[in-house]
């Protein structure tokens, strides 16, 4: 018995060809629900396309949970080869030089084709280091857009085909909607105090968020988001809340925001372009309109591009089997193919990360057939990006966003003015930046 087993084992070892010993490449991700299923499909198709490597996707919960799990695993020497990290964690990952295997380096080492100019410029700019090298593989990037309820607009006597262009127009329409009884509230937002309501507000209005080109220039950056325009904007949100025009959806991603829109309590809703599939699925009883984010015409007449959110794929150092890295590199090459990208982009509402995928979509006539599906792309590509609209990159940003959320809540419950709250947020945020700088300097 023992003999036959060992013989079989020897046979397997001898014939250790690709088909028997596909190298497993673990991929931790944070895509639940429909997005998770689609992600698994992408991995499966890659696995079916060749037999040497097997991508094993593992769902690890929310973005912060996934990042935390990956870091804990790294400390224990059990890290996955690939981990999906949201844009807020970019500062943390970039500072962790010994832990990360930069993608440009990986592709070069493994001899895979790699041409950064093929990617959309705003996406690539966000994930490059100071020398312009791409450190992580762009995967799912999105940008906030405005969703609105056409039926409610009509009921309130507004033209359902005309979306509000500015915040003032949005507030005006909101007032009409509330006073006419068409809906209980005008609009709500996800990431109301952070990604949508402060980071993108600052970018679109071309206002600085922090020094050192919003943190891109170095870890010694300080926050400057407490400018008079942002403060005025927060005061407006408070006034609009008191008038019933705006309703707060909760801190962070705003768990209540989407239900408020789906249940037709709020007529408009701002969130990631990747919420598109969810919005369409949930808006069974009403017609949805899509529009770019409103801009503040008291600050600018020429809105800048919006900034991206979403996540990229980071490769972690320390895999014992070096073949794993070869597999990861092959997988990234596969992911960059226009067909794969276009499929992912069109299904999920994330941005196409390569120019070729965008062009493919145009050729397929996808954007004409699906109204509003190219709003996000046009919004991030419009104009010339300035230092203020390239994005924000700071360490400890998860915690700092919590601080900003808390200060925003203090404005909404009337404890502070916009200026007081933003000053306090900047002060506390700067303290956290200094902690990060101290912990990561050599």
């Amino acid at each position: 018995m023992f003999k036959s087993i060992s013989l079989a084992a020897a046979a397997v070892a001898l014939s250790a060809s690709a088909s028997f010993a596909a190298t497993e490449v673990t991929w931790w991700h944070a895509m639940g629900g429909e997005l998770g299923k689609k992600l698994e499909e992408v991995a499966q198709k890659f696995n079916d396309s060749q037999s040497e490597y097997k991508i094993v996707p593992v769902y690890k919960g929310t973005y912060p949970e996934t990042l935390t799990a990956a870091i804990a695993a790294f400390r224990a020497g059990q890290q996955p080869a690939i981990v999906q990290v949201f844009e807020v964690g970019t500062g943390t990952m970039m500072a962790a030089k010994g832990a990360v295997y930069p993608v440009y380096q990986l592709m070069k080492d493994e001899g895979e084709p790699w041409d950064p100019s093929k990617f959309l410029a705003p996406v690539v700019g966000y994930y490059s280091d100071a020398e312009g090298n791409i450190l992580s593989m762009p995967f799912n990037s999105s940008t906030p857009i405005l969703y609105y309820n056409k039926d409610v607009f009509k009921k309130a006597g507004l033209d359902p085909e005309v979306a509000p262009k500015t915040w003032a127009e949005l507030a005006e329409m909101g007032k009409k909607i509330v006073s006419s009884g068409a809906a209980k509230c005008g609009f709500t937002m996800s990431y109301g105090a952070t990604w949508v309501g402060l980071e993108n507000y600052s970018a679109i209005q071309n206002l600085p968020y922090g020094t050192q080109q919003n943190g891109f220039g170095g870890m010694n950056a300080e926050f400057t988001f407490n400018g008079p325009n942002q403060a005025k904007f927060w005061d407006h949100l408070k006034t609009w809340q008191d008038e019933g025009v705006y309703k707060y959806g909760g801190p962070s991603a705003g768990a209540d925001a989407a239900p408020l829109f789906y249940s037709q309590q709020c007529a408009a809703y701002m969130n990631s372009s990747a919420s598109r599939a969810g919005v369409i699925n949930n808006a069974k009883d009403f017609k949805v309109g899509f529009a770019p984010m409103p801009y503040d015409d008291t600050v600018t007449k020429d809105p800048k591009n919006s900034i991206i959110g979403g996540a990229t794929l980071w490769v972690l150092n320390g895999q014992k089997d070096k073949a794993v890295y070869k597999g990861a590199a092959k997988f990234f090459t596969y992911l960059s193919q226009p067909e794969v990208q276009a499929d992912w982009h069109q299904f999920t509402g994330y941005l196409p990360i390569t120019n070729a995928a965008y062009e493919l979509g145009q050729k397929q006539g996808y954007y004409e057939k699906n109204a509003g599906s190219d709003i996000a792309i046009k919004q991030i590509m419009r104009g010339t990006p300035s230092e203020n609209s390239k994005g924000v990159r700071f360490g400890n940003l998860t915690q700092i966003r919590d601080v900003i959320d808390q200060q925003f809540e203090a404005v909404l419950n009337g404890k502070k003015t916009g200026q007081e709250a933003l000053d306090e947020a900047a002060k506390q945020g700067n303290a956290k930046l200094r902690e990060f700088e101290a912990a990561n300097s050599n």
């Binding site: 990042l67 962790a96 801190p251 408020l260 249940s263 400890n396 902690e435 912990a439």
Partner: protein, 294 residues
């Protein structure tokens, strides 16, 4: 078998016998605790690539941090709130059940049910009932002209987590109070009744003092519970918000360490928590066991 006596005389055997338990304690309690103490003196990046010994800097910063001082106050209010509410209600229930002659068991079973609900589920349950957009309670309160919103109103949020945490603990307290009430000799209450004391007077002057060991024991248990076991409820119901108004010490350790990846300061906080546990345990053993006797 013949060596049984000599074996028991050996000095090593007892240690050998408790070794498994000792090992578990060391691996799961002592070792992490020592690591936490060591980490609280370090400044470290999330990945553990760089360590700097900073001495007591994490502690001094902690004590100057307004958020931490706020968290102390919040924890105090919360644990007192939970203890008073849950002990008060369970005492009331225990007295009621104690007076019921029939179906006492039935009521007891019903009252013990919440104890079987997982804390996270209980947090979600209350979160759902109180949800400002879809919850039933804000909907009802609106008819009374009160606009409930624990997302923005710190008092609402505090009330929500106190109710959720107290509700979970009522079963436990109830069982102890019922047992305590049943051990109060009937002869005493009867004697008081004969002397003309009414039911309320009888309760406060005879029954309640006799319950004091139970009450004191439960007070310590409830405070410990509120301080250390309510993490899932807070996580599910408020996540420490709005504006840190429900960010109790335990939750803050998690938020700073596991979400914020700020390990040094988070370790310092858990060391402080450890000291609080030590104090509470000493109080429990020294004071309760000795002072409150009848």
């Amino acid at each position: 078998m013949q060596t049984k006596r000599t074996v028991f005389q050996s000095r090593l055997l007892p240690y050998f016998l408790i070794a498994p338990q000792l090992l578990i304690t060391i691996v799961f309690f002592v070792w992490p605790a020592v690591q936490a103490v060591w980490q609280s003196f370090l400044r470290q990046d999330p990945f553990g690539l760089k360590d700097t010994f900073v001495g007591l800097a994490n502690y001094t910063r902690l004590l100057q941090d307004p958020d931490y001082l706020n968290s102390l106050t919040v924890t105090f209010v919360f644990s007192i709130g939970v203890t008073v509410l849950s002990m008060g209600l369970s005492l009331l229930f225990a007295i009621c059940v104690n007076r019921v002659i029939r179906s006492q068991r039935f009521y007891t079973t019903l009252l013990v049910w919440p104890y079987a609900v997982a804390p996270a589920a209980s947090g979600l349950l209350w979160w759902f009932m109180f949800n400002p957009s879809v919850g039933i309670i804000p909907y009802v309160l609106e008819h009374f002209g009160y606009s409930w919103n624990h997302r923005l109103n710190p008092n609402n949020a505090m009330i929500l987590i106190i109710i959720a945490a107290a509700w979970k603990q009522i079963s436990y307290n109830f069982l102890f109070f019922v047992a305590g009430l049943q051990s109060v000799p009937h002869s005493l209450t009867e004697a008081a009744a004969i002397d003309g004391a009414g039911p309320i007077k009888r309760f406060w002057t005879v029954v309640f003092p006799l319950l004091s060991p139970t009450t004191f024991f439960l007070a310590v248990i409830n405070i410990t519970y509120a301080m250390f076991d309510t993490f899932p409820i807070i996580d599910a119901a408020t996540s420490g918000g709005p504006s840190q108004s429900t960010n109790i010490l335990v939750y803050k350790v998690y938020a700073d360490g596991f979400v914020g990846l700020n390990l040094g300061p988070s370790a310092a906080q858990s060391v402080v928590l450890m000291l609080i546990v030590v104090v509470l345990t000493v109080v429990q053993f020294r004071w309760i066991e000795r002072k409150v006797q009848y």
